[in-house]
Structure formats: structure tokens, C-alpha cells
């Protein structure tokens, strides 16, 4: 379970996040929705111990990420692509990650299979297409068989098969009792996959709750989103 309370971050005079509250419960897929620059990535980076907040807390099972013993066995994450050095092979990249958290070597082959990259294990990351790079990032997130998955815009760059595979993976993970927090700005995907939704705009949470609650009173999630984030109603599709 992931809990974020009254999270705030300023950079100089710029307010990036203000008073953000968010809970991602086990057994559910929580979607984090918002326009570009709303603070989704900033929130996730703080949750994963990469950046420091100015105020508030972001906890994984009640503890800070940095205090977790083998964090990848508790939280698997993917931010902006694979985060791999382009000169390394996919297997080598996963190998050092596995070693760092005491994850058995066999998991490398298993996750490559799971994301459909088994044939590209010995390929250089630098030669991967956008979609392949993302799949590698997903593989890394799954390495430690974590209870929670934190995915930043996971569908970006995936082809139709990849999207479907991801959707299945995410739903299965939640169905098995795991926690999933994913950020996105694709309405269709969120509507198809999410149980709970948190909408953020301008660094502040503007709506949170089950999907049905957030869309109540609006024709669709897309309409609800635009209404909540203060955009003009889109005319037509």
C-alpha cells in the first residue's frame, strides 16, 4: 500500500506540488491522471526516493522508500523508459539490477519472457525501439516480484500488442492482491484498467476516488477530466 500525505515541493519560488494526498490500495489499480507538467512524475519520483519533498510524506507500507531493505522486492517501478546505459545488453542491464537486490539470476530470463523481449536479451539497449525500451523498463520493474507496481506513463510508445499485454499484466497483478499505481494521460486506457482515480492539476489534487465517483455527473472520464482540470469543454471528439 502506498500513501502520500500533504506532499509539497518547491523549486526556488516555483510551487511544483501543494498538499497532495493519494492512496493506492492493494488489490486495486489506482490511476494518477493529469495534464503535462501537473506534477505526476514529481510525485512518483518523491515516492521512489529520488527527489526530496519540501513537506509531507510519501510512504510505502508505512515506511520511506529509502529505508526499505531490498526495495525492488517491494516496489517495482518504471519511469521514463528503461533507464539503461545504451551500450549494455538487455540481459546485462537486468543482471546487475537483480544482483543489487539479491534477486536470483533466473528471474532475468523469466521477466524478459514475460514482456516479450526473450529474443532480444543479447541486444544492445541503444538499438532498441521506443516500445522495446519501455518493455525493458517493465521487465526491470517485475524482476523482484514486488507487491506494488509504480508505473509512469507505461503505455507511451507501446504498440497494440504491448498495450494489451500491459493491461492484462496490470489487472492480473491487482487481482492477485498487489498494488498498482500508474500515471497516464490516456483516457481510454485509464477507463479500461483503473479502479481508483486521482486527478492532479497544477500541483494540486482536484479529485480522488473510485472511477465511478469521479465520473459521476459527466458523460465520460474524458469530460470529467477536462471539467476537473479546468479546460474548455472539447467540442466533438
Amino acid at each position: 500500500m502506498l500513501s502520500i500525505e500533504k506532499l509539497g515541493k518547491r523549486r526556488g519560488s516555483r510551487v511544483i506540488l501543494a498538499d497532495v494526498d493519494l492512496r493506492a490500495e492493494p488489490g486495486k489499480v489506482t490511476a494518477f491522471l493529469g495534464p503535462n507538467g501537473a506534477g505526476k512524475s514529481s510525485t512518483l519520483r518523491i515516492l521512489l526516493g529520488l527527489d526530496r519533498p519540501t513537506s509531507g510524506t510519501a510512504l510505502v507500507h508505512g515506511r520511506a522508500y529509502r529505508s526499505l531493505r531490498d526495495p525492488l522486492r517491494t516496489v517495482g517501478s518504471m519511469l521514463d523508459g528503461p533507464g539503461a546505459h545504451p551500450s549494455r545488453t538487455a540481459r546485462a542491464h537486468l543482471a546487475w539490477i537483480a544482483r543489487s537486490n539479491g534477486i536470483p539470476r533466473r528471474r532475468v530470463a523469466e521477466v524478459l519472457e514475460q514482456v516479450g523481449l526473450a529474443a532480444h536479451g543479447r541486444g544492445r539497449v541503444g538499438g532498441f525501439s521506443l516500445g522495446m525500451g519501455r518493455r525493458l523498463g517493465l521487465a526491470a520493474a517485475l524482476l523482484g516480484e514486488p507487491e506494488a507496481l509504480v508505473l509512469d506513463e507505461p503505455v507511451n510508445g507501446l504498440d497494440a500488442e504491448g498495450v494489451r499485454r500491459l493491461r492484462g499484466l496490470v489487472r492480473a497483478h491487482a487481482a492477485d492482491g498487489g498494488t498498482v499505481l500508474l500515471s497516464s494521460h490516456l483516457m481510454g486506457e485509464v477507463a479500461a484498467v483503473a479502479d481508483d482515480v486521482v486527478v492532479i492539476s497544477g500541483g494540486r489534487v482536484v479529485a480522488a476516488g473510485p472511477l465511478s465517483d469521479v465520473t459521476r455527473g459527466h458523460a465520460s472520464l474524458e469530460d470529467a477530466y477536462f471539467a476537473l482540470t479546468g479546460y474548455e469543454r472539447a467540442e466533438g471528439a
Binding site: 519520483r45 521512489l48 526516493g49 529520488l50 527527489d51 526530496r52 522508500y65 529509502r66 529505508s67 526499505l68 531493505r69 531490498d70 526495495p71 525492488l72 517501478s77 519511469l79 521514463d80 523508459g81 528503461p82 533507464g83 539503461a84 546505459h85 545504451p86 551500450s87 549494455r88 545488453t89 546485462a92 542491464h93 543482471a95 546487475w96 539490477i97 544482483r99 543489487s100 537486490n101 539479491g102 539497449v125 541503444g126 526491470a140
Partner: protein
């Protein structure tokens, strides 16, 4: 929370071993040592290790590049994020990375010094020479490599610390060496004192050790502070 240092060190060693340019640099350094020893213009009768000591100004490029790659490589492809989500406590990460680099530098430095010495010995050197000189050579190489690592952590890049250290070693140091007696305060000149001290009243080996440690501590402390505090 007790850090899993052995695991971190192994992960960092794996990273170094699977980066092609790191392997090439190591091999090239070890291969360059005999060539440099053969080209060396050392006086007749110099011992083998003495000849190798003369080649250190050029040989240290290898360790410098290794150090820069060990840390600077994190900032290619955004790998630093992956490293910090896998190993979120930063001090152990830095310590583990430095330890892994130290092992690689020791191995490369020793192999290079040995290769150079064997070549020199089979050439015109009458004897191998003192073990102290050999240790001084390896210490110099390792120290420059660690200094490069610290600078790369500080600058978060590969090319910048590389250009800076190459300028120090090939331009600033020879220049200042000719202009002032205090040039031994520069790290590579201090390193020279470890294996090639000038005779007479000039500073000796232990001065070199102190100066080198001071540089490593200073730049290392700045790098550590930056790494601990900065956003990824």
C-alpha cells in the same frame, strides 16, 4: 538500516564488466604499458620499474578514463534513476561504486605496471628495481582513477571531468612544474613523488601521499555531499 554493501559492490562490478568501453580501456591500458616502456627515453641503467615510472604521465590516462566512466556512465541513458531505485541509500551506493572501481583500478594498474616492467626488463633494464617504486606506480594510477570518479560524480558527466583532468595532467601540470617549486601540490605531481621523487631536499614520498590523500578527501567529500543532497 544496514546497507547490503557486498551486494552493491557486486552489482557495480557487474556494471563495469558489462560496459564495453570499460573493458576496452582496461585492455588498452595494459597493452599500452609495454609500448610506452619501449618508447621511453629513460637514461641507460635505469631499473625496469624506474622506466615504467617514467611512462606514468601517459599511462594514467587509462585509470582516469575508467574512473570517469564508472561514475559518469550513470548519467547516460538516465541510468542513475535505475541505480537509485534499486539501491536508494546513497552513501552505500557511492561507497560500493568506489570499492568496485578501486578493485578494477588495482587490477588494471598492477597488470599494466607488470607488463611495462617485464618489457623493460627484457629490453635494456639491468634489473627490476625496488618494490617500493612499483607500489608507488600502482598507487598513483589508482589515486588518479579515484579522483576521476569523484570529479565525475560531482560534474555528472563523462566528457567534462575527462577534459578537465587531461588538461590538468598534460597542460597545467607540466606548465606549473616549470614555473614554481610548489607544483608538487597538484595531484599528479604528488603522485610522481610516490615513485619518482627528485633527489635532494625536495619533498619526498610521504609528502606525496599526504597531498594525494588531501585531494581525494577534498574532492571526494564535495562529491559525496552533492550526491547525497541533490535530486537524482
Amino acid at each position: 538500516m544496514r546497507p547490503r554493501l557486498p551486494r552493491i559492490v557486486t552489482a557495480e562490478l557487474l556494471k563495469l564488466a558489462t560496459l564495453p568501453v570499460v573493458l576496452s580501456t582496461g585492455v588498452a591500458t595494459i597493452a599500452a604499458a609495454p609500448v610506452l616502456a619501449a618508447l621511453s627515453g629513460a637514461a641507460a641503467g635505469t631499473h625496469a620499474f624506474g622506466i615504467v615510472a617514467g611512462t606514468v604521465p601517459f599511462l594514467q590516462v587509462g585509470p582516469i578514463l575508467l574512473g570517469v566512466l564508472a561514475a559518469g556512465g550513470e548519467y547516460t541513458g538516465g541510468q542513475v534513476r535505475t541505480t537509485l531505485t534499486a539501491m536508494p541509500r546513497r552513501l552505500p551506493v557511492l561507497a560500493g561504486k568506489s570499492a568496485a572501481a578501486l578493485l578494477v583500478l588495482l587490477a588494471t594498474g598492477t597488470a599494466a605496471a607488470a607488463a611495462g616492467a617485464v618489457t623493460a626488463r627484457s629490453g635494456r633494464a639491468p634489473a627490476f628495481g625496488s618494490v617500493h617504486v612499483a607500489m608507488g606506480i600502482v598507487a598513483h594510477l589508482v589515486a588518479m582513477g579515484l579522483l576521476a570518479l569523484a570529479l565525475a560524480v560531482l560534474l555528472r558527466s563523462v566528457l567534462r571531468p575527462l577534459a578537465a583532468l587531461l588538461t590538468l595532467v598534460f597542460v597545467a601540470s607540466p606548465l606549473l612544474g616549470g614555473l614554481t617549486e610548489k607544483a608538487y601540490l597538484l595531484p599528479d605531481q604528488a603522485g610522481r613523488l610516490l615513485h619518482d621523487p627528485l633527489p635532494g631536499t625536495t619533498p619526498g614520498t610521504w609528502t606525496g601521499v599526504v597531498v594525494l590523500l588531501a585531494w581525494l578527501t577534498g574532492v571526494g567529500a564535495a562529491a559525496t555531499a552533492a550526491f547525497l543532497v541533490r535530486d537524482a
